[in-house]
């Protein structure tokens, strides 16, 4: 019988399961889950700190999901080695018959028809003198991290967060009602440096400061002395709880060890195949094509993880699915102020700006390739779609559209096709 193995139990794994089942209702599916939990919405762990979700609602699928999908889940287990049909894979007896196998941490060996590596990313821990001596330190990647952090803080806690990226700032927002103070430091000169440019970041920083978050930008911790952080600038920060949010790295070890092609992430094509036969990969651990970027890059985004997973699943089950519309995109809000971003930030700029909002569209070679919108985010999806679909701007009324995201700007033939009727 066919046996599909999925390594990882996040959103990419769900996509993969649903992709497989869209074609193959019967084959065996085994999911290897390092975390001892059913799949949950990872980006919601900050909302868990805020009590805007709970251990039930944070579940990404219904409690009977794995049963309904006919999956066996190996909880609390890790895949430690992946073998595939490669001639140079000689360091084990397992491959003498050229077998495709996954070795699990408890010693179990699983044969597979095809396998999907959906191992996500791992936090990057900076090498800082004295870090080992800091008792209350946390990463902010998993629900276990969030639960541990929740129990470690109280209304008197002074929190220091290293990293003013999406993870660090969502953590700050999640904690702000629970603690006495929050200081966020980052080596970058602005907040959310991976998704915002100067002006948008300045608006967001002001808004966060209004809500009580303190920043130390262009600065980082050089040394810890128990509850004191000594900064590069020479300043000192007293803290009780430390959060490490200085970035993540794709978790690529299994593929690397198996001899597969890895750059920053696991290299995948538009069908989510790795360089190894019958080995697929999906989600934050991968490096695939970005249509706005015009090359491969790591896109650690939940929607991307689902769509890559689904594509991998369909192809594993013998279908022919292509995911060639990946772009970087983010929607993130802090204390009621939203920012939406997509694509890449180069080319000609169209801009609208005031004190509390920004819209910056990037046009290159006749295509919309990116945008940054802070504040008035309604119907930004119309712009996202132009980037994703590579719609030539000459075919649509971009002079109206750049000011107002509306399908009414499209010529009637385009609109009629979109709405399937006389529109």
């Amino acid at each position: 019988m066919k046996h599909y193995v999925i390594i990882g139990n996040g959103v990419a794994a769900v996509g993969c399961i649903e992709g497989i089942r869209s074609l193959d209702k019967n084959a065996k599916i085994t999911v290897i889950s390092e975390e001892n939990r059913a799949v949950y919405s990872r980006p919601l762990i900050s909302y868990y700190l805020e009590d805007k979700t709970d251990l039930e609602r944070i579940n990404y699928r219904s409690p009977d999901f794995y049963d309904k999908m006919g999956c066996e889940v190996l909880y609390g287990k890790k895949a430690v080695r992946l073998y595939c049909n490669l001639k140079n894979d000689i360091d084990s007896d397992l491959v003498t018959n050229n077998q495709k196998k996954v070795v699990v941490s408890d010693g179990t060996v699983l044969d597979y028809t095809s396998v999907c590596v959906a191992t996500g990313s791992v936090p990057f821990i900076p090498n800082i003198e004295g870090l080992d001596e800091v008792k209350d330190k946390f990463c902010f990647m998993t629900l276990d991290d969030a639960e541990a952090l929740k129990s470690a803080v109280n209304s008197k806690s002074r929190v220091l967060i290293i990293g003013a990226g999406l993870i660090g700032l969502k953590c700050a927002e999640g904690l702000h009602n629970r603690v006495a103070s929050i200081t966020v430091c980052d080596l970058a000169d602005r907040v959310l440096s991976s998704v915002l440019e100067d002006d948008g970041a300045a608006i967001m920083k002001r808004h966060l400061e209004t809500n009580g978050i303190k920043f130390m930008l262009s600065d980082t911790v050089m040394q810890f002395k128990k509850h004191t952080a000594i900064m590069k600038s020479g300043r000192q920060v007293e803290f009780d709880v430390l959060v490490l949010a200085s970035g993540v790295r794709p978790n690529t070890g299994l593929i690397k060890d198996a001899g597969g092609e890895v750059n920053r992430g696991i290299i995948v094509n538009d069908r989510m195949q790795t360089s190894l036969a019958d080995v697929y990969a999906a989600g934050d651990c991968t490096e695939g094509n970005d249509v706005s970027f015009g090359g491969r890059r790591v896109l650690a985004l939940l929607p991307n993880a689902y769509m890559q997973g689904f594509t991998a699943g369909v192809n594993m089950a013998g279908g022919n699915e292509v995911y060639d519309k990946a772009i970087a995109m983010n929607s993130v809000g802090f204390f009621g102020l939203h920012a939406m971003t997509a694509g890449v930030y180069n080319g000609e700029i169209y801009e609208e700006k005031d004190e509390s909002s920004l819209k910056r569209l990037f046009v290159k070679d006749g295509y919309l390739v990116g945008f940054i919108i802070v504040g008035r985010v309604e119907r930004a999806g119309i712009y996202t779609s132009l980037i994703r679909e590579r719609t030539p701007l000459s075919e649509i009324g971009f002079d109206i559209l750049k000011k107002d995201a509306t399908t009414a700007a499209f010529p009637s033939n385009v609109r009629r096709k979109m709405f399937e009727g006389v529109v």
Binding site: T53, S331, E378, G381, T384, I400, T406
Partner: protein, 151 residues
């Protein structure tokens, strides 16, 4: 055959008067209130349908209930799903991140009262029981019917 579930909303810009009655009927149907005046008079309204206007034509836009809904695949909370051909939002799971609005090519999701995300669910979940925008359109510019291939 789930014939009724294959019906979708279609609009006709040539017949749309731009009167925005659909927006009011939508807001009322989803208000949970029995009286239209109490529900709407003197208040900001939060319709799930919006009349688009480019000075030459007008037409109403609401959720297309896509065959392959990108909002469902993109929802970071697992709050969106498709059931009997209707794209639905579980508001108890929604954390208002607006990723659905970031990806919808039609601009069909809107922000409702208190920042909640809302979308057309064809009035199947409210007391109207059939799309209020269609029922109240004075010029049949919005119709709810079956066309072409079902899913």
């Amino acid at each position: 055959m789930r014939v009724s579930n294959m019906k979708r909303i279609y609009v006709n810009e040539e017949w749309c008067l731009g009167c925005r009655l659909c927006e009011y009927n939508c807001a009322f149907a989803n208000s949970g209130l029995k009286d239209m005046v109490t529900a709407l008079k003197g208040k900001p309204i939060y319709p799930r349908i919006r009349v688009e206007d480019n000075q030459r034509i007008t037409y109403a836009v609401s959720c297309r209930h896509c065959t392959d809904p990108i909002c469902v695949k993109s929802c970071i909370a697992g709050a969106m799903y498709k059931e009997n051909s209707v794209v639905k939002l579980d508001k108890s799971k929604c954390v208002k991140c607006l990723t659905c609005m970031l990806v919808c090519p039609f601009g069909a999701l809107t922000i409702g009262e208190n920042g909640v995300v809302q979308k057309c669910e064809l009035c199947l979940q409210n007391s109207c029981g059939e799309p209020a925008c269609v029922k109240g359109c004075p010029n049949r510019a919005i119709v709810y019917e079956e066309r072409g291939e079902a899913e």
